[in-house]
Symmetry: C2
Subunit: 245 residues, 2 copies
């Protein structure tokens, strides 16, 4: 059954507007009487029937409300150094399927890509769309939050003060991810700092250790590309706490 | 230091030919006296200096031989349903970085892509190149083996009889990957059966359970795309046995 993000929720009814309405009418060509699933990022999922299709909205009658256990219990965020377009997009798509809670695009010293002002805002909007699509495809009921492009100093203000920060780092040879995770609490958010294509500058790692109490960890002896490190670390953290089967 | 696959190994010397020679001369424009690293898929790595550049080969003098502990201890193979070009390529690239031992491209019922005859052979050659490149980039000393495009019935003949088969499957609701891995031996090969874009047909899962004693496992409640399932399962298996830090 096709899934839609609810534009407005009423009593026993919801409405789809804008691009969600367009998609239902023009792409999927659904009609009055067809059944769909709506979600509103509250954690709920609504089985509904299309009642009315109008120029500005589609009205759907709710038949059933459910709270599926589809979201990861541990909130894992990615704070990922800006990488060239396609790589970031795939981290967002894969990260959403796997169950990340959100993503912070991070400005770093060695980043090839610079993003400022309205260009940054447009890009984040595009990323949010990719994440919304992947949320539907993977049957999530809460879309990951896409944060604005941020600097190191802003990180602390974006996530709760109880957030536990992790930073995979090539020069870390002793501490493994698994050993660090044993001392983390899965009840509090975890944020993964992932370098850009050229990796983090040493001063950035030191800054994160000092200011975020970030734990640097090794992902083993093979050199991973930035985007591979992002997805692998996310997978290992979610897997560690039983959030991937 | 740039890394090259050795074409021929002698005593205290090796030669680079064909595309490896081309890459060194034309793309990287290295010269006599420059240092490089060579590997020959034996597990060894050779630090060497360029002694002579000729039309057909580059001669390199070995200065140092090393056996770096860079390869995963557990041999994990992917048997992946054929998916459209780009997705397979990225599974091969990411799988190589993470440490897979090899990949079997598998013909499945729901595959959109068909590959037969010389087209299949060309494609595997292209995939082997992607894997070789990723091996260099991640500093591996053994390239993953790319098997020919295969049918279900051939699987048994390709890997050792002690291979332990795993099949992530949406309809498996109880057995988790972690619980199954606790009963596997990391000393014997593990092969992951990953569906194509449309997933496996139920009859294929039954066949694998019966004929390969494959264990079906759940990857949790979120629906993963085929390529995401491949990379996530590989990461979780390697992580479980301590092969990712």
């Amino acid at each position: 059954m096709h899934r839609f993000k609810i534009s407005e929720l009423g009593r026993n009814v919801f409405w789809l507007k804008g691009p969600e309405r367009e998609h239902l009418v023009r792409v999927l060509r659904l009609a009055v009487g067809d059944q769909i699933i709506g979600f509103d990022n509250s954690g709920a999922e609504y089985k509904a029937v299309i009642n009315k299709i109008e120029d500005q909205s589609v009205t759907c009658g709710i038949m059933e409300q459910d709270y599926p256990e589809v979201e990861a219990r541990t909130q894992v965020y990615l704070a990922a150094g800006l990488s060239k377009g396609e790589k970031m997009e795939w981290v967002i798509q894969k990260g959403t399927e796997l169950g990340m809670a959100g993503l912070i695009p991070l400005r770093t010293k060695r980043a090839v890509m610079k993003l400022e002002g309205s260009k940054a805002k447009d890009r984040v909007e595009r990323w949010q769309k990719i994440s919304s699509e992947a949320s539907k495809q993977s049957h999530r009921v809460r879309e990951p939050k896409l944060f604005p492009v941020s600097d190191w100093k802003e990180l602390k203000t974006l996530l709760p003060s109880t957030t536990q920060w992790l930073i995979p780092y090539e020069s870390e040879k002793t501490k493994t991810l698994q050993s660090v995770l044993r001392n983390f609490s899965p009840q509090e958010p975890i944020a993964l700092l992932i370098g850009p294509e050229g990796g983090f500058d040493e001063s950035e790692v030191l800054w994160a250790q000092e200011n975020l109490q970030a734990q640097s960890v090794s992902l083993g002896p093979r050199i991973l590309r930035a985007e591979t490190a992002a997805i692998a670390t996310l997978t290992l953290v979610l897997g560690h706490y039983g959030d991937l089967g």
